[in-house]
Amino acid sequence: MSRKGADIVIETLIEEGVEYIFGLPGGAIMEVYDALYRMGGIKHILARHEQGAGHMAEGYARATGKVGVAMVTSGPGATNLVTPIADAYMDSVPTVFITGQVPLHLIGNDAFQEVDIIGITRPITKHSFLVKRVEDLPYIIRQAFHIARTGRPGPVVIDLPKDITQQLSDVPIPSREEAISSLIGYKPHLTGNPQQIKKAVKLITEAKKPVLYVGGGAVNAEAQDELLELAELMRIPVTTTTQGKGAFPEDHPLSLRMLGMHGTYYANMAVYNCDLLIAVGARFDDRVTGKVEEFAPNAKIIHIDIDPASISKNIIVDVPIVGDVKIVLNKILEEIKKKGVKILHAKEREEWLEQINKWKKMYPLTYKNSNKVIKPQYVIEQIYEVTRGEAILSAGVGQHQMWAAMFYKFSFPRQFINSGGLGTMGFGLPAGIGAKVGRPDVPVFVIDGDGSFLMTMQEVVTAVHYKIPVKVAIINNGYLGMVRQWQELFYEKRYSEVDLSIQPDFVKLAEACGAVGFRAEKPSEVREILEEAMRIEDRPVIMDFHVDREENVFPMVPAGKSYRDMILEDGKSPDVETMYLVG
């Protein structure tokens, strides 16, 4: 049956199982919006800014594991998507971004609203397509979804010239297999080399002081069950990155919580002193390793990752295993069980766990609470209690993001949605909206900064429009707090351009948008507001928590420094005697 290219787009998206599109129309993409109107079958969330649409698609994907889809017009619509595309690229989020484009014959003419979005996004996409023939459309869309979701996931851009969406064609929608058969050079390696797996098992069996270091790859592969089994079976403590959070429950006795720049003392000490580091879907980011020379200096390293280019990139590893994390962990478990589960140095391993417990007791994650001024950490703890640890959290970028990471204990995968690789302020609210769309059954809290919130706050209106009951907690310190903290610590308190004390009345702002607004200025008001917010299910709530303005995020390993240079809660260094051991 002959139909427009635009209709083929919607048909193929439906075939791919797309339920939601986040977007905003304009001239070059109008045909597709018309087809959407005529054909239905997919719900559309009209964002108020394309950046919002992009982060919503990401939030949806991060919360569900499904491919997130955003659709915008050419030119400014497309350039407004650049930040979300880069964000999805850095954190390996499966996403498809559809951009309208000027008609083919005008491409390269500096036509109205023309930009070379393929060129602009080339270094920040997993792949991109310019559609040049209407018959290719269903193939390209299917390939885009395949590429976005398989291997190391990532963003794919489909640039769609207007005339292609208008041309008629009777091309049938191919099956997935047929559509991807021409991608002859793209075959993610999934199974892991058996020789390497044997080597890994040997190291795991022999280690005295092993640590599992888990990143976002474990979440993408849904390897939480395998991870838990391996950790418990072989008595291995587990630390996660911001992206790996929830892959291992943080209330588990073997959990070391987060490592790296704002990691726990005990996670960083465990990594510093371990003799075997098992990296699972993690990429040795500089925020994690600090000074590379002093990262796990005594350890042999096993690195399991779907992306061969991630392995031995920043740190040389002893046993590289390229493959799907879930499949490889299963093989490792099989191999261990085949041999009848033995830990060669069981006694040392228990002593190792004991040592870690000592570290945990010595420098737990704490803060000094106050009954006069609201401490940001207190707000997060209260949110943890009110939600019984069951909410999905989406964060902006800054101190509040780190407090969310530290003072909420995450227990299931995809529970902490945050911009790790790119560190995009303004991510939290739209990503939270996308997450809530994808997981309407779970309460979603946005932990935002007063600075971050202002960058995408127009999306409050979107949440009102669709009655999306996200709960936004603004950790309002009147500062670009994270930058202020660095200025305090490393620039002798020269607070250059970080004061945000001129700011909107967030309660009135919420009300003006049709949302509910609350404000807390005293610690005693925090709980009440949160409980009130939990009862509101028909619109978003904005909570303005006026917190201690100059509270800092500790522990902290200054950028490029070693774990030995860690600064603890009170701004002091830990007792050197407690940090290093050789056994």
């Binding site: 080339r122 270094p123 050079g185 200096p297 061969p308 280019a309 290093y580």
Partner: protein, 187 residues
Amino acid sequence: MSEFTVIETRKLREVRKGATRKHIINVTVRNEFGVLARIATLIAGKGYNIESLSVGETHEKGISRMTIEIIGDDIVIDQVVKQLRKLIDTIKVRDLTDIPHVERELVLIKVHTPTARARDEVLRITEIFRGKVVDVSQETYTIEVTGDEDKIRAIVELLKPFGIKEMARTGKIAMKRELGWEENPQD
């Protein structure tokens, strides 16, 4: 109580540093829109210059082959190779640098030859290098030579004193040797 002794260790992790040298990389690609730009972007993203690049079709429809020469740190190049492999449109990527291979380049050189003596000399040099004179004017000879890097360098050096007016090179193409000999007897 733990029996681990608590002392400060200053052991350092070894940080890998590679040698910097010229690499020659073969890339087989699906000849799709933008594939060359993608490869160039990737290499530029590592802060490297492409020394030479040649692209051409293979015997298979829709499949092209590129030979890329870059100077860089072995470890970063290894990373480049892995990332090239990750591109959706690349089919095969191989760093030939340490593998026995044949490489050839074709050069056109326009030499200043105003006198009979110069013409004689240039002709002789051309013959020695098994080149050809492909264009002649009163003032110039244009010479075509193929060969590996050393041969091309040698003839260019010999022709320089006459005055090279223009030069164009195709960039290297390379292929792995089947028998793995270091040197082919015919070279």
